[in-house]
Symmetry: C2
Subunit: 169 residues, 2 copies
DNA sequence: TTGGAATGTCAACAAGGCTGACTTAAAATG
DNA sequence: CATTTTAAGTCAGCCTTGTTGACATTCCAA
């Protein structure tokens, strides 16, 4: 019932964990996620792609030369599901799949210039919203935001998340 | 590239808004949302329901007697899509639909005891994860978390979010 | 050389979004 | 009172994205 979580005070008070407070957090996640995906979704419509394509582009860009298995673990879907998305991206010339150098069973995935262009457009739209939210909330809030999100992940996912680094070729 | 956002210092430093920082925020949203939905999803499987049912149950519980139109605005889906979900919940005896008192075109939606039971199981699982994340991150982080999420919502959605209150009958 | 791992493919299915068209009932409006 | 608008529900059909299961291919490694 009582609001007032917002004060940066509160110290070690644990009474703020009322069901109502938790409920608001749950709803905030739900509504914010809608905003979070809204801008890229609009761009994707024009290309007849969906969120699954966006996610693939994002992580291929993030870790150049990643393998399919690696991508599967990040995305948390079946290979059949990813394969469908990946195939269309390869056919359309946004992603290149190269046979692995050391292990030739593997395929290393790269964005083509065309793929990079779409990825950039998508991530710029998404970053712009994130940037605006960060600015509105301030640096302290951003730190807290990240801390809570990290704590909400499954353990194995958190490890993957923390391990992600830009790997430029 | 450089990490180090995590310090609660940082003050008014705006350099933390590097693309890499924003990217990490984007990925945190993606991975955290997976964790956020994981526990209810497991429960829903046993009942042959999906996330759409969970969302409907949540908001009907939240605003007892809400109308279909109201629910549509909250969920952001088409009435055909909601109707499919709603029909199964009504058929299964989890939701009751009563003709409106003042405006008889409207239907007021309520959870039955059975519906309340499932809603409680789902939301307790989700609240438990939220509670654990809040505890791990601390009160200051929670305030920041909520601030950033609110800032990320579309304006009209934020208004609805802020307006949500428990309406017990 | 054979077993197993990585990848890819085909088929079938389900959930849950969407659009469009249409009905019914009731309220609002002229 | 007649007309229009609104709320809700329904039917049909489509798309994306997830799922299983079965199976083929390639090729590293024991």
């Amino acid at each position: 019932m009582a609001e007032g979580h917002g004060s940066a005070s509160g110290g070690e008070n644990l009474l703020f964990l009322t069901d109502e407070q938790l409920r608001k957090g749950i709803e905030a996640m739900f509504f914010a996620y809608r905003g979070f995906t809204a801008d890229p979704d609009r761009i994707l419509e024009d290309h007849a792609y969906g969120r699954a394509h966006h996610r693939a582009l994002h992580f291929i860009n993030r870790t150049h030369g990643t393998t399919v298995n690696n991508l599967l673990a990040l995305l948390g879907v079946t290979k059949q599901s990813l394969n469908r998305v990946l195939r269309s991206l390869i056919e359309d010339g946004l992603v290149e799949s190269r046979v692995g150098r050391t292990d030739r069973r593997e395929r290393n995935l790269y964005l083509t210039p065309k793929g990079e262009a779409l990825e950039r457009a998508l991530s710029e739209a998404q970053r712009e919203r994130m940037r605006a939210a960060y600015r509105a909330a301030g640096p302290q809030a951003v730190a807290g935001f990240r801390q809570v999100l990290e704590a909400m992940m499954d353990d194995d996912i958190r490890r993957q998340y923390l391990g992600l680094r830009d790997r430029r070729p």
